[in-house]
Amino acid sequence: MRTHIEVPDSDTVVSAKDVSLSFQGNQILHEVSLDVHKGEVVVLLGPSGAGKTSFLRTINLLNSYDSGEIFVDGHLMGYKKTKSGAYTPDSGKHLAEQRRNIGFVFQHFNLFPHMTALENVWHTPVRILKVPKEQAVREAGELLALVGLSDRKDAHPNGLSGGQQQRVAIARALAMHPALMLFDEPTSALDPEMTKEVLTVMQKLAGKGDTTMMIVTHEIEFARKVADRIVVMADGRIIEQGPTEDVLDRPQETRTKEFLTKVL
């Protein structure tokens, strides 16, 4: 039960306050705080083991956290607001409903292999949101067109290349009309050629300007093109953040400089 919680304003899609997480005695996140505004594209950079992926997964509670608060679109994740205004934990149906507002794109795609590409996209809107099937299938077709896969809509995931699978996964997440899209190293499992096709789709999405995105990636040049803001993490903390060019071209922190010279 939690009381006296300040709800962020409606322009703030993600509001993380002092989020800490430890796992088997290791402190993974140290009081991480971050606000992401509507339509903003935030890229998280940093050496591996910095806690970027953990932080991203904590936002939709694929990881639980030990202390802090995470608001997405004005809702405290994993809590239900009671009539008295207090928050009670709810990890069941209520959390599931909250997650429908957040698209998550995994490093290893995690498409549903028993469904075609098109079915992967319309399945959850129809089965869970109860969208009329005809409408959902039409929308799924449009989303596959958006990611350039209209001609592969009847293929099963194991008949698609990695890049194609990841593009279907992006369409699948978008089908829920989420307020926020989270990308967890979406191209790390892909070879360079396929990386490009996925990044192109993401760039197109970012260019539309109405999708709030948080992206964990190691593609610095891509970050430069799409990010409104760069957040650099190291050892479970945000060590530096700011407008893309400031952070990439004029980093202030030594560790940011070290990291950038290594990856560029």
Binding site: A96, E97, R99, G103, F106, F112, P113, H114, I128
Partner: protein, 273 residues
């Protein structure tokens, strides 16, 4: 050797009505207890996979007990034991104008209880074998764990369940012969009575063996069709029968004459040494 060929062929190709009824009973009991076993097995598997420690424990104990006791002992306890102790006596009952003997009811109960234990383990291991990413992706899409099970996890696990479940059904059909001990007039009991009436034990049991083999062979083909069906749903091409035989043949030839059948592949393998 004393082998009555005329009796053998006659029993094989012109079985009596009683014999065919026994065969039918064997099939029906197998199908019904497999179906009921699947239902109960699914419940037990979901209990075992749940977060509730009490449910997990109940399921685990059930499986431990049922797998540890011979089906024959369970059948005798259920049909004869319960009646002898005055706890419950299976009576003949009429359902939809069909009279079901008490012994058959007891058989269905015993086989179902026994099957469910094995089936629940098959379901549980198939579900556990799926990559974690599938449950994670389902949760991230906003499904509850129950919806994820219903739409994502079980439909995929079914594919890997089919071969072990098929074997289970195969075993079950053969195990129905044990029902003769509680007086269910399935094919084994009928065979026994023919045997004692004619003293043609060798001939008639060979005939019955052939009929069991026929049943299990038909089932093997059915199972292959099921596997192919689920492969199609996963977009996996199922090799045709002829290509499978061809692959078997090639593998066999490689084993017999490794040097002759090796060819290009063989050469490259040798190079690595």
């Amino acid at each position: 050797m004393n082998f009555d060929w005329a009796f053998f062929w006659d029993s094989l190709f012109h079985p009596s009505t009683a014999y065919l009824n026994g065969l039918l009973l064997t099939v029906v009991i197998s199908l019904v207890s497999m179906f009921l076993g699947l239902v109960l097995g699914l419940v037990l598997a979901l209990m075992r996979l749940s977060r509730n420690a009490i449910l997990r424990c109940i399921s685990a104990v059930y499986v431990w007990v049922m797998r540890g006791i011979p089906i024959l002992v369970i059948l005798v306890i259920i049909y004869l034991g319960l009646a002898a102790a005055g706890i419950y006596k299976f009576q003949d009952a009429t359902v939809l104008h069909v009279t079901i003997a008490g012994s058959i009811q007891a058989a269905l109960v015993g086989l179902t209880l026994n099957q469910a234990a094995y089936i629940s383990e098959i379901i549980r291991s198939s579900v556990s074998a799926l990559p974690d990413g599938q449950m994670e992706a389902s949760l991230a899409m906003g499904m509850t764990k129950t919806s994820a099970m219903r739409w994502i996890i079980l439909p995929q696990a079914v594919r890997s369940m089919i071969p072990p479940l098929g074997n289970q059904f195969n075993q079950l059909m053969k195990n129905t012969s044990l029902l003769s001990i509680i007086g269910v007039s399935e094919i084994f009991l009928i065979t026994q009575s023919i045997s004692s009436a004619t003293f043609r034990t060798f001939e008639i049991f060979i005939v019955t063996g052939i009929y069991y083999l026929l049943l299990t062979t038909i089932w093997t083909f059915a199972q292959n069709q099921l596997e192919a069906l689920f492969n199609r749903r996963l977009g996996i091409p199922t090799p045709s029968l002829s290509s499978r035989i061809q692959a078997q043949y090639i593998a066999l030839m490689r084993n017999i004459k490794p040097s002759a059948a090796a060819g290009k592949n063989g050469a490259s393998i040798e190079n690595t040494h």
